[in-house]
């Protein structure tokens, strides 16, 4: 790598090469590469068990990879991870684990101090974030009284309080209401303007499309596709997506001119057409001819789920 390459490499917040991890004897992640620059939001997408959470754990230094290398903030992560690396990472995992007997304020303050903030600064920042996330009225109630959504907000607050250079978020909007989702989007945009890098895993494709600069599709522990959401979707051209909910004995085997069948099961059929919604009557007729009953039809422009379907032949939600 030349000088420019070295400089570009040093500027990356995350540089992962060939990361692999086994989980209970199974290869949960295999040959995972990822570059994340400061001020970039990267989304990891994939069905359950694809390796998203394992990838986040490796990036968060929560476990060591079985193979591959990881550089964070320009330095290689070794066997022993120093506090300077971890204090630059904010993590909100998939489960909001807290000290249930303590109040929200105490939990957040404890984590802020554990991340190295002096008490006075920690109190100021915790107070401001509790206000921002609408938790101030409940700040002095025990976390055991909190709803799942409130605990999720507290977890996000604890990931943000020490103002890390890298945020790692697993299903950050899970259990959040609409206002909290919008707030999280605003907070992430602010942090990105401050050159914070964000890696998040989500099953919410609309959220990924809205928030992420780049998405990485994982399937069976491997990266199958990577790119900017709009560019990936545009590769599908001006197609129209038809999604039929069916009641059928078996997957209907149909052919309609100008229509590509992306997925066919006894319960669901997904088709893409290049001529807008005009093939819909022909599609309905073809399906009904097979003896299948159509229970519902959704017609919309393709999204990230279609990108994954096109790349793997499998549904993202499966």
């Amino acid at each position: 790598m030349g000088r420019d390459g070295d400089a570009a490499r040093a500027e990356l917040t995350v540089r992962a090469r060939g990361l692999a991890a086994r989980f209970k004897g199974r290869l949960a992640l295999d040959g995972f590469d990822l570059d994340v620059a400061p001020g970039e939001i990267v989304g990891l997408l994939g069905p359950n068990g694809a390796g998203k959470t394992t990838a986040l754990r490796l990036l968060a230094t929560g476990r060591r990879p079985d193979a591959g290398s990881l550089e964070l903030f320009g330095a290689t992560v070794r066997r022993s991870v120093g506090p300077s690396v971890r204090r630059n990472i904010g993590i909100a995992g998939d489960e909001p684990v807290h000290a249930a007997a303590l109040t929200g304020w105490e939990n957040a303050l404890g984590f802020a101090m554990a991340a190295g903030l002096p008490r006075a600064l920690a109190e100021t920042r915790v107070g401001a974030l509790l206000d921002r996330f609408g938790l101030s009225p409940d700040a002095h109630r025990p976390v055991s009284d909190y709803s799942l959504g409130m605990r999720r907000k507290l977890l996000l607050l604890e990931a943000l309080v020490h103002e890390p250079a890298l945020l790692i978020l697993d299903e950050p909007t899970g259990a959040l209401d609409v206002q909290a989702r919008a707030l999280l989007g605003d907070v992430l945009k602010e942090r990105v303007r401050a050159e914070v890098a964000v890696v998040l895993a989500t099953n919410d494709l609309a959220e990924a499309e809205r928030l992420c600069d780049r998405v990485v599709f994982l399937h069976a522990g491997r990266t199958v596709l990577e790119g900017r959401p709009a560019e990936l979707i545009s590769r599908l051209g001006g197609r129209t997506r038809f999604e039929f909910t069916l009641a059928a004995a078996r997957a209907p085997d149909i052919r309609v001119s100008g229509v590509e069948i992306a997925l066919a099961t006894a319960a669901k059929l997904v088709a893409h057409a290049i001529n807008g919604s005009s093939p819909l009557p022909a599609l309905c007729e073809a399906i009904q001819r097979t003896g299948a009953a159509i229970e519902a039809v959704v017609v919309r422009r393709p999204g990230l789920d279609d990108v994954f379907l096109e790349a793997t032949g499998r549904e993202l939600a499966s």
Binding site: T61, A99, L102, G116
Partner: protein, 200 residues
Amino acid sequence: MTAAVWWLEWRQAIRRPRVNVLSVLVPLFLVAAVALGRAPAPHASLVYTMLFTFFGTFGAGIPWARDVERGWIHRLLLTGIHPISAVAQRWAASALLDLFQVLPSLLFIVVAYGADVGEAARLVFGVAAGLFVANALGLLVASIARSLAETALLASVFALLLLHAAGVFRTPLPGSFAETLQRVIPFHYVHEVIRAAVGA
């Protein structure tokens, strides 16, 4: 160095008044039952040594195993706090809390057996040291066990073995290996100060 773990431990202790009251009353009732039941002093001292050892071992081991299982320890360590610092803070907080909780029991022993000031002071310091060792044993066991049940089992086995090696259950022959061994087991000295306090 941040003292966040120490702070969190004490805050949690304050927020659990029921657990604190039970942790004071349970050993106190046991001590009172043995002392007021006029159990022979050697037998009473054996019961008290076992009680304080198990109190410390289980008091540190079970909560640590539970916090490892639910991911709390992992979360704390990912904040950048040094693992040795985190364990040390937890150990110190847990042992000191145990000492506060058994102080009424120690006071009861002093009053019930009419121990003098010197014996009382040695009793408090000896049991405090024993609690630190027992807590360390609990944390060690919890970190090698894979579940709460395994922690409880291993804590019982190791504590009993150490108490046995410390000469709590029998007096080894003078000059024997067992006699040499008991001198390096801290629980031996805990047992000695308790024996002195109860007049065994």
